[in-house]
């Protein structure tokens, strides 16, 4: 309840609206020359001092990417991307990969402060325990352009055997794990953007939770694109062994720039017997201006494998940013009795385009999946839910429940629902429900007659519409997400 009141405060506090995270940070960068070829792939690999097997893996990915074509089935439109006009590597020059926070460039620390990561959280970033009664500690990996600049709480985590570090470091410290799992959920040539990512990925987070361990705190990665004409290609790999549990959250912002920037990430999750991974995203990349100039192209492949029996993977996403979102966090339900969940809020306004949804692949017996998608379209935006539920032959007793709701604000936006259901097992049950509604003048007037401003009213109604998804987010982030929803939709009515 306090959360919504706070949402409304936020809206009141922001008079002009717009994107608050759009500043740039002036910092000396080590950049690869523009363009993409084998030499660039080699350069990235050598900058990171990678072993030969990884370079080879990258080159193989690059070779398959060259033979592939950009997908055109999503309901999004953009001018052709010139892949030779981008920098594929950008890192702050002074201290790449500092060991402690003291070594982090003060400009960077200033930037994180400015990003409004709350002071309490910043204290956590600096490794200071919060006073009693404050929010629980959260370990953070901060990725700036192509490199990780700081990872907190690593020692505390290490005591329980949890590994949380930049993936570029894991390549050296835990090569056997990285080699075993990298590309095992999203094969290199899975799609155009995953192949590109595999060739040029620069950094991202690596998480390993050993057998029977419940990760003692929330893990979080904060991504920031800063440099101009740069693509960000992060790679995240999370492995939960038998009976392990982890809750992980990612957040992201970028400066306000007139040109579009490419973000093509790959996230792979592996859950063994009885393991649980809860993966939450608050995506707030720069969405472009009201006329559709600039903004991030967010072309992301996220997939989790429930390899073990009774394992569970939950994706929760709140997507408010990016000019274009192309993203389908999926679950491969291989283990018997495994569970996949997808909870999504996607907001598009102005000229934003989102084509997002999930894939639930039921392979094991008695596998269960739940999909709850809430799309909110305003302005002249387009918002598409695209989802696949596939029940394989051996998936006896598989169950799926899907609910897709769309909320329209204004009369120039679009909402589309494209569900695919394929069942090859007669004992499986799938359910699909979909609704489309509008914020009505009656609702707005009712709220205003009780004293709420138009914007407060929209915030309240939208948060109500998204409640089923927001309640899946870790508590602290649900509050942030509610604020973000209100701010994103500011000025979209009336």
């Amino acid at each position: 309840m306090a959360a919504v009141a706070e949402t409304l405060d936020t809206v009141n506090a922001v008079t002009e609206g717009g994107y608050k995270w759009g500043f740039t940070t002036d910092i000396e960068m080590d950049m690869a020359p523009k363009g993409l070829n084998e030499d660039i792939v080699r350069l990235i690999s050598s900058r990171k001092g990678e072993p030969a097997w990884l370079l080879e893996w990258r080159l193989k990915a690059f070779a398959s990417w060259l033979k592939m074509e950009e997908p055109d089935w999503a309901k999004v439109k953009h001018p052709p991307i010139d892949y030779q006009d981008l920098h594929y590597y950008a890192a702050p020059k002074k201290k790449p990969g500092p060991k402690s926070l003291d070594e982090v460039d003060p400009e960077l620390l200033k930037m994180y402060e400015k990003l409004g990561i709350p002071l309490k959280e910043r204290a956590i970033l600096a490794g200071v325990e919060p006073p009693e009664g404050e929010r629980p500690p959260i370990a953070i990996d901060a990725v700036f352009d192509s490199v990780s600049v700081a990872t907190t709480f690593r020692e505390t985590l290490a005591k329980s055997g949890v590994i949380f570090c930049p993936i570029s470091e894991a390549v050296h410290s835990h090569p056997e794990l990285v080699r075993q799992y990298l590309g095992s959920v999203v094969p290199v040539a899975d799609n155009y953007f995953s192949a590109l990512n595999s060739a040029v990925f620069s950094d991202g987070s690596f998480v390993y939770i050993p057998k029977g361990v419940r990760c003692p705190m929330e893990l979080s990665t904060y991504f920031r694109i800063n440099a101009r004409n740069t693509g960000q290609f992060e790679r995240t790999l999370i492995i939960a062994e038998d009976g392990a549990y982890v809750s992980y959250l990612e957040g992201c912002t970028a400066p306000q720039r007139d040109e579009n920037q490419l973000h093509a990430a790959v996230v792979e999750l592996v859950a063994m017997d009885d393991a649980q991974i809860k993966y939450s995203t608050v995506q707030n990349w720069y969405p472009g201006d009201a006329e559709g100039r600039g903004g991030i192209y967010n072309f992301v492949t996220k997939r989790g494998a429930c390899r073990g029996a009774r394992s569970k993977i939950s994706w929760t996403q709140v997507e408010t940013g990016s000019a274009i979102t192309w993203k389908y966090p999926s679950c491969i339900l291989q283990g018997d009795d495994s569970v996949g969940e997808f909870y999504s809020v996607a907001v598009t306004t102005n000229r934003q385009q989102a084509d997002t949804g999930t894939k639930m692949i039921h392979i094991g017996k008695n596998t269960k999946s739940t999909i709850v998608s809430k799309g909110i379209s305003a302005g002249r935006s387009d918002n598409t839910y695209r989802g696949l539920v596939r029940i394989m032959k051996g998936a006896d007793g598989a169950r799926n429940f899907t609910q897709c709701d769309s909320l329209l604000i204004g009369d120039q936006c679009g909402a589309h629902t494209v569900p695919y259901i394929e069942s090859r097992n007669p004992t499986a049950k799938t359910e699909h429900e979909a609704t489309t509604s509008k914020i009505s003048d009656d609702q707005l007037f009712y709220c205003r007659s009780r004293g709420l401003s138009q914007e407060d009213a929209v915030g309240l109604i939208v948060n109500g519409f998204c409640k089923d998804v927001l309640k899946e987010l870790p508590m602290e982030f649900a509050v942030e997400a509610q604020k973000l929803l209100a701010v994103s939709l500011e000025g979209s009515v009336g």
Partner: protein, 249 residues
């Protein structure tokens, strides 16, 4: 005090209010009765500031402020409350959350301190008890899945918590059984006092048996054609609107 002078208003370019003069002094409850289509609901919407109701002439002031120049939320903060004839559903929005947000928005606008969750719940629970309503009223989503009677009761609960200076009740009695009617009437009566006025809009006498008005006005074809004491309501009930309208013509 509410003061309406020569108020004219159009809906979809058709004149509905054709010059209304009405004064509701502080502390008084006035009833407006009239046949269907006489402009009763239009008057309540014009006073609360709904879009689509165009004022073409006259004035309406509340405590000396030009009501017609204010946004709906400003009127609410100034102390005007409209109990809806058809209360609106807000899916996913909890009643307690809605009411606290509304109350705090009004308090903020008036420069008063906001209530935290604990203070608010204490206030809300006390009102619920006083109105003999069910505790789960606060937990449920605003009007979602409410029966017609529950919706009207929820309007009264909102009014009790928001404590307006002027309440406009737009056919709050329609669709209510006798028991619900009594709860609604008790809710309004509980607020009566020297600082509270109400404009009770209704078709029927029966609500006015429970909320006894200081004055009764008959609205017909966009004008007030007759005003009187509570006995006027009984006369209307006995003879029908047609007789009063014919007499005034």
């Amino acid at each position: 005090m509410l003061e309406i002078k020569g108020l004219r208003a159009d809906v979809a370019e058709k004149e509905i209010l054709k010059g209304i003069d009405l004064v509701v002094p502080t502390g008084e409850v006035h009833a407006i009765m009239g046949p269907n289509g006489s402009g009763k609901s239009t008057l309540s919407y014009v006073l609360s500031g709904r879009d689509g109701y165009e004022v073409t002439g006259g004035s309406a002031t509340f405590e000396g402020h030009d009501l017609l120049d204010m946004e709906p939320e400003e009127r609410a903060a100034a102390g005007v409350f409209l109990a809806f004839q058809y209360p609106v559903e807000l899916p996913g929005v909890g009643n307690a959350n809605f009411l606290r947000t509304a109350l705090n928005a009004q308090r903020r606008a008036r420069g008063e301190s906001e209530l935290d969750a604990v203070q608010f719940l204490k206030l809300a629970r006390a009102e619920i008890k006083r109105l003999s309503m069910a505790d789960d009223m606060l937990k449920r989503n605003v009007n979602v899945g409410f029966s017609g009677g529950e919706k009207k009761r929820n309007e009264v609960l909102q009014m009790a918590i928001l404590r307006p200076k002027l309440a406009i009740l737009d056919e709050t009695d329609s669709g209510l059984d006798i028991d619900a009617l009594k709860i609604v009437a008790d809710g309004v009566n509980a607020l009566r006092g020297p600082a509270f006025s109400a404009l009770v809009i209704t078709h029927y006498q029966r609500l006015l048996d429970h909320i006894v008005p200081d004055r009764v006005h008959v609205l017909a074809d966009g004008r007030i054609i007759r005003s009187g004491g509570p006995e006027l309501a009984h006369e209307l009930e006995a003879n029908g609107y047609a007789a009063v309208v014919a007499e005034a013509a």
